[in-house]
């Protein structure tokens, strides 16, 4: 009969250790599921190639802005949503399989469960965005502004990602199972298509344009554009980088606060 080594009765991991452990677990789990890695990378690249080479020729942009320069920042922004959507599915999977119940029955900071996931998913997002950006350059996108502007744009995307991770954690907790969480991906398609991410909003009918111009994805896509294209884009977009960056930071901040509050509250009560 084996005995467990005598240890002092265990306590709990602090929030920092807990976040670290669960972030590592989420990252390892992601990397060991090649289908997820491939899906993330191929999905974005495929959409980008389709628009660049199939639809791109037919989509006109004004003010001498080539479509490739217009669209790549939009793809990268939309990519943030498609990638963080995985957070909802991951959380739903953990609920379905009882992993969250186990954690909730442990003397353990509830917040760490969620922060661990957010940290890991933001890290994964950074890698996926880097690859997407590389594909963007490969198909002909060129920075028109400074390198610093490009880095700022990349950082801004991670901030969006952080905010949307919280949104999708809430979605995952509310959905409670993988199928319901996957259903949400339709909404992501609608929100990204009805925005300036892929095409200029000027050609949309009035009602759709009103929606498109006042939703977060448009603010974010335009912020990334103005940071990477500089003065080249200002004539086309109508405003400078400051305008769009501040707008999108407001959106990100709002989403982050609202959905982290919802997620933590839902998580505490959980599937009771």
């Amino acid at each position: 009969m084996t005995t467990l080594t005598p240890t002092i009765r265990t306590g709990r991991a602090g929030i920092v250790t807990g976040t670290g452990l669960l972030a590592k677990r989420t990252t390892v789990t992601f990397l060991r599921r090649p289908e997820l890695v491939v899906l993330s990378l191929v999905q974005m690249s495929a959409i980008m190639l389709t628009f660049r080479f199939i639809f791109g020729g037919a989509i006109g942009t004004a003010h001498g802005l080539p479509y490739v320069d217009f669209s790549v920042p939009g793809f990268i922004t939309a990519g943030v949503l498609f990638q963080t959507l995985g957070t909802a599915i991951g959380i739903a999977e953990d609920m379905e399989q009882g992993f969250i119940d186990r954690l909730r029955s442990m003397p353990f900071s509830t917040a760490a469960m969620l922060t661990g996931r957010v940290v890991a998913d933001t890290g994964i997002l950074a890698i996926v965005l880097a690859v997407t950006t590389a594909v963007g350059f490969a198909v002909g996108f060129r920075l028109q502004a400074s390198v610093l502007g490009g880095l700022e744009a990349f950082g801004l995307c991670l901030v969006f990602g952080l905010a949307f991770s919280w949104l999708f954690i809430a979605v995952g907790l509310l959905a409670g199972n993988v199928k319901a969480a996957q259903g949400v991906s339709m909404i992501v398609f609608i929100v990204t298509f009805a925005s300036s991410a892929y095409v200029p909003t000027q050609t949309m009918p009035g009602w759709l344009r009103a929606f498109a111009e006042n939703q977060p994805v448009t603010a974010m896509a335009n912020a990334v554009r103005s940071l990477t294209l500089g003065s080249h884009s200002q004539a086309f977009l109508g405003h400078g980088p400051g305008y769009f960056v501040i707008r999108s930071l407001f959106w990100a901040g709002g989403i982050l606060v609202a959905f982290s509050v919802i997620s933590v509250a839902k998580f505490r009560r959980a599937a009771g």
Partner: protein, 327 residues
Amino acid sequence: MTLTIEARGLTKRFGKKTALDGLSLEVESGQVVAVLGPNGAGKTTFVRSVSTLIRPEEGELKVCGYDVRREAESVRRVIGLAGQYAAVDQALSGRENLVLVARLFGQSAKQAKANAEAVLELFGLVEAADRLVRTYSGGMRRKLDLGASLVSQPRLLILDEPTTGLDPRSRLDLWDAIEALVERGTDVLLTTQYLDEADRLARNIVIIDQGRTVASGTPAELKRRIGGKILEVHVRDRAHIPLVAQALTREGVAAPEIDEATRRISVGADDGAAQWLIDGLTAVRDSGAVLADIAVREPSLDEVFLALTGQKTSSAESVGTATLETA
């Protein structure tokens, strides 16, 4: 002495459905207790309350002396939970899963590794330790899940239908594992719909139905509650069933139970009714039926359960088949 579990008047509703309806029960330490009940009896709700996963609306619930509502954190330090689903990460290896849970309990990397190793040995999972869990069989996953609830050395281990959905071989295996834990002195609260499981593992059984405690006691005590002895007659020819049934109806205190499929007729007697048994045996002999076997035996828990809840358990219908419904 502190009771391991002390529940008084627990009530929990989900919308209009009342899952727990004033449930009360006490569990002393040093015991394995099986909570037994049909699907929807409130077993899972009770276990989730004990594990601090849900809060009962009314009543009092203490685990190892701690109130589940006001001292949830303390309760969580002393319990280990293994649920109906194997709550282990498929993309991690067995060892990684155990180390992760141990570290989350605040153990150092070294401690966690040692405890994980001990659990792997205890459950015979050493060889599979470094394989990803997605390559494990269902039984191995449950064992690992059980192991994960042990790395913190809980005082009370909570097992919610631990063998539901397992094949018979894996069930036996898991029973052995649970028995080994019990020998080490871990208190266990177990829910099950299988009476043979309760009979085998638990010293005390609590039968609940519709959110209330219907009966509790040792398996022997519960069996005594529905009478002392059962006279069971097994006939060779199905056509002879009515002969025996008629003979026993004349002699018996209650209507005999007839199982056509196994060609068995059984009837219960009051405790110590020696004369009744002799009369019964004589009546069977005089009925002219050709017997395959005749026996006087203790009632089974299935019969107790049927008598107390008016329902057959799933084990009475088919032993060891997979039922994945949650209570």
